[in-house]
Symmetry: C2
Subunit: 205 residues, 2 copies
């Protein structure tokens, strides 16, 4: 959409709504089909904007990919933070609730799509340091929230001290990504229920 | 290569060496770049065979992908089986040796490529039931070898009975895939050493 009466400049003025629509379409397409399979043509088509407008907002598909990763993660971050940082609820219960909610969501969806950070980790990490570094930052943010929750549970005595909170948090997050990977193949929640049982009945006990 | 004096038939006679070369090129390209990024043109180029010969051997790229998955897994299966089934060595030591060897290999390679079964699980599972089912079968074979090893260790008293061998084996394999995923992002062996420490110092103890 052009803004009537805008001062003429080189190329159309970037429109924030167009940018948002491109990022939203990018999240959907990259999550469902992956990075390589989602062409700029598909993305502008899904966002219903002219192809030229893509390059008004993003210097390249790679830059777009890195911003899609940011958009995806930050759009879920507030809910994640609220859930894992709610000090009214015991830390161990917050963690259980979080993984149980995610399991229920994947079950409802039919065990598809998984986690976009995980998907792009395997598809893009060796080929784009720009995208890889954004994924790394978001994994660290997510990891830190789990770690804080575990450390709080350890201080309160809900969670055992067999391992340090940072190592437990890293292992749990990585194992969750692995469980989602196997879920995609098996099309069953067994990998997720195995995860929950071992993490909550043994690892943190 | 054509066989001199062969009876004329519709299309050139499929040549087993060509087929093998295509599969080997497929393993390399799909492992390094993924399924979508590896076009038939790239594959025949890497195998140094004419494009037409691809379709003498494989009905489609999808069929080829499923055979590449089989070729990749079976080419490592004998070594995997030998390592995990060597009853002269305590079961827990076999498992440690296996994961330590793989960790050393990934370290030497610079934490790239990961496991092709894992990579294609995320890239292809939702889009090709043919390839997904082959991945599922190979994960089950791999899982069974780990499970047998754990069950043997449990009978011998090397490995604790907190969980059943099938569930431990599934969790360990899935967590390993998750550790490889995070390794690709972090370009470090921390996810693999976290895995080893938690699995061998706590989970199986």
């Amino acid at each position: 959409m052009k803004i009537p009466g805008a001062t003429p400049r080189r190329g159309p003025k970037p429109n924030l709504q167009t940018r948002e629509n491109l990022l939203k379409a990018g999240v959907k397409l990259l999550h469902e089909g992956g990075y390589t399979a989602s062409g700029v043509k598909d993305i502008v088509g899904a966002a219903a904007v002219p192809k030229g407008s893509f390059y008004n907002h993003f210097d390249s598909k790679e830059v777009f990919g890195s911003e899609v990763v940011d958009y995806y993660f930050t759009s879920g971050l507030e809910e994640l933070r609220a859930l894992l940082s709610d000090s009214k609820i015991p830390a161990i219960e917050r963690l259980k609730t979080y993984f149980n909610l995610r399991t229920a969501q994947f079950r409802a969806q039919g065990y598809i799509h998984g986690c976009m950070l995980g998907n792009l980790s395997l598809e893009v990490s060796d080929h784009s340091s720009l995208i890889r570094e954004r994924i790394a930052v978001h994994f660290q943010t997510w990891n830190r929230l789990i770690e804080n929750c575990i450390a709080e549970g350890q201080r309160a005595g809900d969670i055992a001290h067999h391992q340090t909170a940072p190592m437990l948090a890293r292992f749990i997050l990585n194992s969750w990504e692995g469980a989602l990977l196997r879920m995609r193949v098996e099309k069953s929640d067994e990998p997720l229920t195995d995860f929950t049982r071992i993490v909550f009945d043994q690892l943190l006990m």
